[in-house]
């Protein structure tokens, strides 16, 4: 298995949708073969179409707001006393998270193919919020599938989804979290694929959804590369990019433009959700060596029992609370291009406390996982090392959890 240079990773895929002959694929019911093939043809064509690219860029710039900020966390850096700690504030994007890139692209595609309805899954509620926002913008009806447990713990985003005029469909099966929302959304698509487009909320699902999502979030690293060169004159000699990994869309997008650099110059660190320190359950299939299995149409490392039943996960962060992970990350792990580790609920909460104590930034619980590892490792790194953390979500959505776990003083009113 080898990572090729000069070809985007989303295109290093076999005809049948596999990376490294092992990860990804299209394990889907027969009914979805045709709509998936249609989407593949459309995407492969449009991704080379200059007019489409400039349309996308226009929306990214004027509507999503690009570039998002790249800032030095001076006070945090001084406090830690090791590497320079920077952040790419992706939560600046319209709606407050990276999920807006994928949602926008899917709506553009749906619009062009004449679909009137779009459905999507959500965990933290961001993918749903962004899809509802984009659907409204492009005049599509929108249905969002969300686990009942996540509806309860991510109310601010649920309210936003409803305000955008989308329907929120609670999912009561299984663990009532993201994994069940994705299953239910796929089932809805199976039954309605003639009228409805589907947006998978991360770099997961059948291969085409992995590719579209990765292509969309790569905007993050395109911006970052320009910002790094602006700031340092070139891509720094010692660069470390920290990102939380749930399905893997923000991390992939944060790294993509730097894929061809040697990992000694530009290291990728993915941080999965380790779950509560005291619990055996986690959402970190890469870190804890889960076996390859099939989840939501793709082969990947996934938490499962010996029979192949998908195991329940546990994490304070709804966005990371997923038993599987993108085939792209499985590939990056096996080729050793990226390194993966996990942070526990408690470590993420502590990182949130530290970051908010020293900086104006309020990362949500997902990027707080990445901050936790970045802060720990930065201590031992030289001052000329540039650590960048993707702050891909804002803590507003987590106010209920933060208040309960850390007390009122950690919650802001907006």
């Amino acid at each position: 298995m080898k990572l090729k240079k000069k070809i985007p990773l989303i295109d290093q895929v076999s005809k049948s949708g596999f990376w490294g002959n092992k990860f990804g694929g299209n394990f889907v019911p027969e009914t979805l073969k045709k709509p998936i093939e249609d989407l593949e043809i459309q995407f492969n064509k449009l991704k080379k179409d200059k007019k489409f690219i400039s349309e996308r860029n226009r929306y990214f710039k004027n509507w999503i707001g690009s570039p998002t900020r790249f800032i030095k966390l001076e006070k945090l850096t001084n406090h830690i006393g090791g590497a320079q700690i920077w952040s790419k504030v992706v939560s600046d994007a319209n709606g407050g998270a990276h999920k807006v890139y994928n949602a926008t692209v899917h709506c553009l595609l749906a619009k062009r193919s004449g679909k009137k309805i779009i459905c999507g899954d959500t965990g933290a509620g961001y993918a749903g919020k962004m899809l509802s926002m984009a659907a409204k913008k492009f005049g599509l009806k929108c249905k969002i599938f969300m686990g009942a447990k996540d509806i309860a713990r991510q109310q601010p985003n649920v309210k936003a989804i409803k305000k955008n005029g989308a329907e929120v469909i609670p999912v009561y099966s299984g663990s009532q979290t993201l994994v069940d929302a994705v299953s239910e959304c796929m089932r809805f698509w199976v039954a309605n694929c003639d009228t409805t487009a589907m947006c998978v909320g991360s770099t997961v699902g059948p291969a085409i959804f992995v590719r579209i999502c990765g292509w969309s979030t790569s905007q993050i690293s395109r911006e970052l590369k320009v910002q790094l060169i602006d700031e340092f004159g070139s891509v720094p000699k010692k660069l470390k990019l920290y990102n939380c990994v749930g399905g893997g869309s923000s991390s992939f997008g944060f790294w993509n433009e730097f894929m061809d650099y040697d990992k000694k110059q530009c290291e990728f660190i993915g941080v999965e959700a380790g779950g509560p320190a005291k619990s055996k359950k986690h959402a970190a299939p890469l870190t804890y060596g889960s076996k390859i299995g099939i989840l939501h149409g793709a082969a990947q490392y996934v938490n499962q029992d010996s029979d192949g039943q998908i195991e329940e996960t546990e994490s304070i962060s709804a966005g990371l609370d997923y038993p599987g992970v993108s085939p792209l990350h499985c590939f990056l792990k096996d080729t050793k291009r990226a390194r993966y580790t996990a942070a526990s609920d408690e470590e993420a909460l502590n990182a949130f406390k530290t970051v908010t104590k020293y900086e104006e930034l309020r990362p949500s619980l997902e990027p707080s996982h990445a901050f936790s590892v970045a802060i720990k490792e930065a201590k031992r790194l030289s001052k000329d090392t540039i650590v960048v953390v993707n702050s891909c979500g804002d803590a507003y959505k987590d106010r209920g959890i933060l208040e309960k776990r850390l007390g009122k003083k950690y919650v802001k009113s907006n």
Partner: protein, 266 residues
């Protein structure tokens, strides 16, 4: 020896009727009960589909999901399922059994191990919901070597060229999904329309048996009886759930329902 699946179709043809296929989830409502259900309906049913419950099913509606979750909660394991089949076959050697499920369960068991176990317990065919053609070519070949039918699914969205290719590679039995739906959806297409599609597919290779499934109930089964075979699943799972709710015996209730279904296609 003729695969019992083909023998079952042959017998139904001789009796001038469609074959009746049922789908029940292994281990629903318990290991014991699910075996009892199979035994009790086997006289009226031509081919028994036994569902392998999975907890992230991407093509099952709420009735089958409920059955599957119930069974998983009761602790069903792959080996229990093989045991149910084996126990059933002790007294019903020639009644064909098809296992229906998702590919991850086979992958984790190991393809070859799984097929060997199918052979030793008496499984005659497999339906793997999320292993479509051409991805299933290799596995289907392995099945053939073990004299197990790998049953291809065909859908209203399957293009004509694709239909031809799939049928060309297929074993003697295929499964036509009546409409765009998960299992157990309301029949949203008229039976006439379903039969029109069915007949088009049947023409591609009239020798292959094609059953129709998804959304078939007591109300609709009679109108589709010109097909080679008809599958009823969700309606039976629903009957089990209902029986449990009213504290009735699912075995007798399912048996009654199956007799009714059978009477509609005679």
């Amino acid at each position: 020896m003729l695969n019992p699946i083909s023998a079952a179709f042959k017998k139904a043809k001789q009796e001038n009727r469609a074959a009746l296929l049922t789908y029940t989830v292994a281990g629903d409502s318990s290991k014991k009960k699910s075996l009892e259900i199979l035994k009790s309906i086997s006289k009226d049913v031509d081919i028994l589909e036994v569902g392998v419950p999975h907890n992230t099913p991407v093509a099952d509606g709420s009735q089958i999901q409920t059955s599957a979750y119930r069974s998983i909660k009761n602790g069903i394991k792959m080996n229990d399922i093989f045991k149910i089949v084996k126990d059933f076959k002790k007294s019903n050697k020639y009644k064909p059994i098809i296992l229906m499920g998702y590919f991850n369960m086979i992958l984790q068991y190991g393809e070859n191990n799984f097929l060997n176990k199918c052979n030793s317990s008496g499984v005659n065919g497999l339906i793997v919901v999320d292993l479509p053609w051409p991805e299933n070519k290799n596995f289907a070949k392995k099945c053939k070597k073990k004299s197990i039918y790998f049953i291809q699914l065909l859908s209203p969205t399957t293009t004509k060229i694709r239909l031809k290719k799939i049928i060309k590679d297929s074993h003697p039995m295929n499964y036509f999904i009546s409409m765009l739906s998960t299992t157990g959806g309301k029949l949203k297409v008229s039976p006439n329309n379903i039969l029109k599609n069915y007949n088009k597919i049947k023409k591609i290779d009239p020798k292959k048996e094609i059953v129709i499934g998804f959304g078939i109930t007591e109300k609709t089964i009679g109108k589709l009886k010109s097909a080679d075979g008809l599958v009823v699943g969700s309606a039976i799972c629903k009957e089990i759930s209902k029986s449990l709710k009213y504290r009735q015996n699912p075995v007798t209730n399912v048996n009654k329902l199956v007799k009714k279904l059978k009477s509609k296609i005679l």
